[in-house]
Symmetry: C2
Subunit: 373 residues, 2 copies
């Protein structure tokens, strides 16, 4: 006899799609249930494993032929594995145009995903900044030597920046190999901190193939770096769970290569949920996203929604710092602070490098503006 999984053992995910009428909407919702669980026609599923089939829990119309369907996935499908979790909630149906993942049952996420190991509170303790937004910049450009990058890091630290991260395009190129770069930057930042009298955290970029990434994490930790930067989409988001499970260093997630997941209005995963909830739940302490008004496309409202998703209370999962990057320069920082609030890390690159008075002055001015809120 066919069985169904009881509600307590289901995880809810909500999708949005277009359909002309309720009949068509029910058909799409049912096809999601099958595609994302047993992946075969219902009549071909043996009765004694029918409890593995996902269940349609609710279906209602919003506007313009748009429907929202909430589907319950049997928890045992996830196998306590972050790749399999993503596979179930948005694997094959990512290939069906017009289906967008818009919500997840957030308070059950901690059963599958660890969340960040530090979180906003932990990062505030690490940086010694309890009551204001944090500043961040990127070391670049690629092509400079370790000493040249380290000199820039020293100047930024001397100006008092809170966080310095590698540009996400700095890998292990001959111009500045990972090992030499991290050592040079750690020691340069220590010198800079002696001038500023305050803490500056350094996050080298460890993005690479899986078999080398953990070595870079280890080396970053051993060299005295304060955290790591990883391009989550390039490595597969599950890498963040592994890094958070080690938990020795906080993790900045960079959005390179992730755009196709979030820029559409009718498919993929809505950006606040993908960056603010999923990447945070995977284990990111900081989530860099493309800010409004810059080179990218999010509206201010979408950015505020990402911020909210990074910070909101979720059972068993620490909050993460939203890190808007792009579209912010040293002059507009104050107005963005008013919009985004104190639990924000502001990432400025280009406009510090273009400052006529040099990097140390630019960093000091940036810090000054953050303190005056």
């Amino acid at each position: 006899m066919a069985t169904v999984e009881p509600e307590s053992k289901l995880f809810h995910a909500t999708y949005r799609f277009t359909a002309d009428d309720i009949g068509a909407a029910e058909q799409i919702a049912d096809s999601i249930c099958l595609e994302q669980s047993v992946e075969m026609p219902r009549d071909a599923v043996p009765d004694h494993v029918s409890s593995s089939i996902a269940q349609l829990l609710s279906l209602f119309p919003s506007s313009d032929n748009l429907w929202s369907a909430t589907i319950g996935y049997p928890l045992h499908l996830f196998d306590d594995d972050p790749t399999q979790f993503l596979n179930v909630i948005f694997g094959n149906i990512s290939l069906q145009p017009g289906i967008q993942l818009i919500d997840l049952e957030k308070d059950k996420l901690h059963g599958v995903l660890p969340g960040p190991s530090f979180g906003i509170q932990g990062i505030r303790e690490l940086s010694g900044v309890s009551d204001r937004p944090l500043s961040c910049t990127a070391l670049k450009p690629v092509g400079l030597s370790p000493d040249e990058l380290a000199l820039r890091a020293e100047q930024f630290a001397a100006g008092g920046l809170d966080i310095i991260k590698d540009d996400h395009g700095l890998a292990d190129q001959q111009s500045a190999p990972f090992s030499a770069r991290v050592k040079a930057c750690v020691s340069a930042i220590e010198k800079g901190m002696q001038k500023s009298g305050k803490r500056t955290l350094y996050f080298p970029n460890i993005t690479t193939t899986p078999n080398r990434l953990m070595d870079r994490y280890r080396e970053a930790a051993d060299c005295g770096a304060d955290g790591v930067l990883v391009s989550a989409q390039l490595c597969g988001p599950a890498i963040m769970k592994e890094l958070a499970t080690i938990g020795e260093l906080p993790v900045i997630a960079h959005p390179s290569f992730s755009g196709s997941m979030v820029v559409s209005h009718s498919q993929g995963i809505v950006a606040p949920l993908y960056f603010g909830t999923l990447w945070r739940a995977m284990g990111a302490d900081f989530i860099i996203y493309p800010n409004a008004m810059g080179r990218f496309s999010f509206t201010v409202e979408q950015c505020m929604d990402i911020n909210e998703h990074c910070r909101q209370n979720i059972e068993g999962i620490k909050s993460a710092f939203p890190v808007p990057g792009g579209g912010i320069n040293r002059d507009t920082v104050p107005e963005w602070m008013n919009k985004y609030g104190r639990d924000t890390v502001f990432l400025i690159g280009g406009s510090l490098y273009q400052h006529p008075e040099g990097l140390q002055f630019a960093a000091a001015e940036f810090q000054q503006r953050l303190r005056n809120t």
Copy 2:
């Protein structure tokens, strides 16, 4: 003095985007050059590293305000690293809506990526099938025990199927843990092969987090599996380079979670290039893609274009088998064979499981239809 990298040390990538006039198009092309290399304003790049800046090589209009720009990336940016390669060709600009990656300089790919270790010819030798398309099915559904899945595998093998792969939703769930499943299926398929008198290859699904994936690869090899299945987008496409570099087992790439990359007409990466060229160059011997007329959205022309990209001559990179899945059933196999040709693997799931005469008969009938071309 500013320097530029010579043409011989550049790698070409071509993008399509909309712009109202040539001035706007030049601006977008220039912003791609900066964003994807030094990621800072041109005037902030020190002269002595200006050779790291990507170069606009050609820009021409196609139709409807659409422009194509070919950009030359200094090869040293790639760092011989597949994650960094993807980061350079489509990292941050993935976040700018309306920019689509449409072509790559294929004959230079082998400098960065290994291609499949077996390729079409190697797989034909392994399977002993020299002159016809290959058949493939998926073991499912999730929820069955190792013995139940193994019985299905035995019946498929007895019917003479060429390739049996795990469903991509079979992970390490309690119902059929990886280890027990692989052992049971390998030995069941051996029994089935004694009945059919021909070779059947088995590809278990090793998709999981990076720290466990290599253990599953190793275990699959040690248990006598013939290859592995990996959901490339869930693990990050670079995983395929690592598997191909080991080269002990052929790799089937599954497209789960990759839809957002390819389903749009105005952003992401065009599907033939992403699946047929990039995944192949990363190291996939087989590329599963959603076939036309099924639950997904590609047209027959797009599918034929994916097939062509999988098979075309590329310097230093072996060809890969295209594996259309979905939209094919046991009755329509002959017409798809006529369309797609002999260097194709046909993946049929549902309609074999629904066959009234059972799995062995269904497999034998499928094989018969493939032989009659």
